[in-house]
Structures are given as structure tokens and as C-alpha cells.
Symmetry: C2
Subunit: 205 residues, 2 copies
């Protein structure tokens, strides 16, 4: 793609660095912004800078928060003995939206991925271990993606936490609510039979 | 969607104002940017500001250009008597990519759309008329989208330019190269029969 303007080329370069954005989509964004009012675009630019300058993370669980301790960690009605380990902020939002979890979180900030050069030291795994050894934690729930990277990270954390006296669990893998057996992949279906659960009322709500 | 951070909420608001971007995608962009290096994000913010502060348009054809007169308008080998009217910069790029057009352009900056509050006065139609009346223009080609807005704008310009002594043409509507008749919609197929063209060598390249 050749551009008649250096500035447009740079702007397209910036936007196409975003995940899933190609040059055509980036150009669409840029031409849209050109038509917007000055103040809106300047506001956009300021917010981008703020993302790097002003963003704060919870000192306890590392989720994004406006305060030193996030709303979940500072909520006295949450069960502080249960810690749910997630990849990032989006997963905290997703689990909070279910309204069914009352414990705390621990945000890793990514998953172990040798392909992308992310090792255990790039994540907050050390903080998780020191949290488990210093605070009263009775259960750690691993809620990571069902991908290669997620499974690897889960296994790494499992090995690290095994010496401690606590319950380690992982969120259930199985057939999604509303799905049909016929169209479920073999691995998921196989695992859902092996990891079958007692039939009771909690399945019906 | 509820966010635990005001800043994240504002950033998601900015990105979801882009065309075709919802809140989930916007959050994905924001979380991606948080992980990038400071200098890259600050560069992104500066480029956004520059889009409003430093972007220049060609004084003759209103396309985006680094110079007062764009590369096409200042190219002595282009035919200055032929002007192709397009909606925006992307269309100039698309036609330039064909390599088959040797005239100049005139960028309208949009299409007439009462729904979006865009009237003829918001576009560069007046400049087109003064260009036609003051410069030596022998042909105006209307190359606008085959949509309601595009057809309306074409008709409006056709009415305005009718008093002048010049050839007015529109790009051909018809079956795309590689398409099958069976799957072409009736309106396009009907028009392609009515507007049939002499069969000659130019169709074969």
C-alpha cells in the first residue's frame, strides 16, 4: 500500500500495530479521525499518554484499578482465603460479570509463552507464591485459557504451589451450556466424560 | 460493560468511537497498548495530534498530500483536461492502484447524506464547479459508490455541471471480472444489459 502522505503512512502504521488490525482497517480509522473535531482527537491522544503515565494496578492482585487496592480486594464481604488466578484484566471482568465468584483474584499479566519470549519471571507468579506463603489462603483456583500456553502456565503454577497446604483447583473444561454433543470436539467431549460431576441442583440454575 | 478504572473506561470510549469497533475490541486494543513500550504509545499519541495539526490537503484536488499541490496534480504527464470525482482519499488510492487512469482527481470529502446531516455545502462541489468554469476541463468522470448516497451525489453534480460544455461520464456499473451471471443481483445484471458496450480488444486485457 503506497500513501501520498508520510503522516498518513505513520498513522496507519500505528493503528495497524493493534491486534487484528490490517492496513486497510487502519486507514479507515485514520480517515475517520481526520473528519472528527480537533478536541476529540486531542482528547484521544491525551488518553493514550495517560494509559502509560497514570494507569495504576492493585498492589495486592495486580488488576487495573484507580486505587492502590482495587475494589474487589478492599471489599470486606469477599472471601480472602480463595484466590482465582487469571491471565489479565479482561478475565477478571468476565468472571465478575457471572456474579458467582466471591473470592479474590490474582492477575498474572500474561501466560508463559516461549514463542513470544514470555517466561515465568515476566509474570506475577513470584508474588502469587509469596501471597500464598504469607497470607491465609486456603484455595487457589486456576482459571487460565484452555490453550497450550494456558495449560503450560497452569502446570507451572501447580508445581510451584504443590508444597503448600492448600486446595488447588482448575475451572471445569466441558461442553458449553447450550452446545450439542454431536458438534463438540472429541478432546472436550472425552474430558467431560472423564471429569463427570455428581448430578445435583447446582447444575440446574 | 463496567470497568474498575475510569481511565480504561475513557480509553475504551475513544477506541470504540472508531468505525466498526465495539467495546470488547476497544478493550483488546487498550490492553495491548498497556503492554507496549512507553515511547511507542507516546509516538502513537503524537501522530494522532499531528493528524489534526499538520495534515495538508492538495489545494487543487483536495486529496491528502504532504505538499500544497499533490503529486498527481503536479505531474506534467497527467492529462489536466480530465477530472475524476471521487468520495475520498481511499478512492484516489484505489484508482491509482489500477494504473489505468492518467487524468486528475477531485476529492469531494464525502457524499450527500441527509441522514448524516451532510449537504452539498459540506463537500467540495463548489470548488469543482469553479474548477470546471475557470480551468480547461473537457471531461468529468463521476466515480462514486453505487449506493443511495453515491447516486444522489452523482445526480446533484450532473445537474450542476450540465450547463457547461464538457463530457460527463460515470464509471461503468456491471458484473465484476470473475463473477458468474447466475449469482449476480437482478438490478446489476439488468443494467449491464441495457448499458452493453461494443465488443473489442479493450475488454480482453
Amino acid at each position: 500500500m503506497e500513501f501520498s502522505s508520510k503522516l498518513i503512512e505513520q498513522a496507519v502504521g500505528c493503528f495497524s500495530s493493534l491486534p487484528g488490525v490490517g492496513k486497510k482497517t487502519a486507514l479507515r480509522y485514520v480517515l475517520h479521525l481526520i473528519k472528527q473535531e480537533d478536541k476529540d482527537v486531542f482528547h484521544f491522544a491525551e488518553i493514550l499518554k495517560s494509559l502509560k503515565n497514570d494507569l495504576k494496578f492493585c498492589n495486592n492482585c495486580f488488576t487495573i484499578s484507580d486505587h492502590d487496592i482495587c475494589d474487589v480486594c478492599s471489599n470486606p464481604s469477599r472471601n480472602k482465603q480463595v484466590v482465582c488466578v487469571v491471565q489479565d484484566y479482561r478475565d477478571v471482568m468476565a468472571i465478575e460479570n457471572t456474579g458467582l465468584y466471591k473470592g479474590l483474584y490474582h492477575v498474572l499479566g500474561g501466560l508463559i509463552s516461549p514463542m513470544e519470549g514470555i517466561g515465568p519471571s515476566n509474570l506475577t507468579i513470584d508474588h502469587l507464591i509469596s501471597k500464598v506463603s504469607t497470607q491465609e489462603v486456603s484455595e487457589v483456583i486456576l482459571a487460565l485459557n484452555a490453550t497450550m500456553e494456558g495449560e503450560t502456565t497452569s502446570f507451572f503454577i501447580f508445581k510451584k504451589l504443590a508444597p503448600f497446604n492448600l486446595t488447588l483447583s482448575a475451572i471445569a473444561r466441558g461442553i458449553a451450556v447450550g452446545d450439542e454433543l454431536e458438534y463438540t470436539d472429541e478432546v472436550t467431549l472425552g474430558r467431560s466424560i472423564i471429569n463427570r460431576i455428581p448430578y445435583n441442583n447446582s447444575l440446574l440454575r
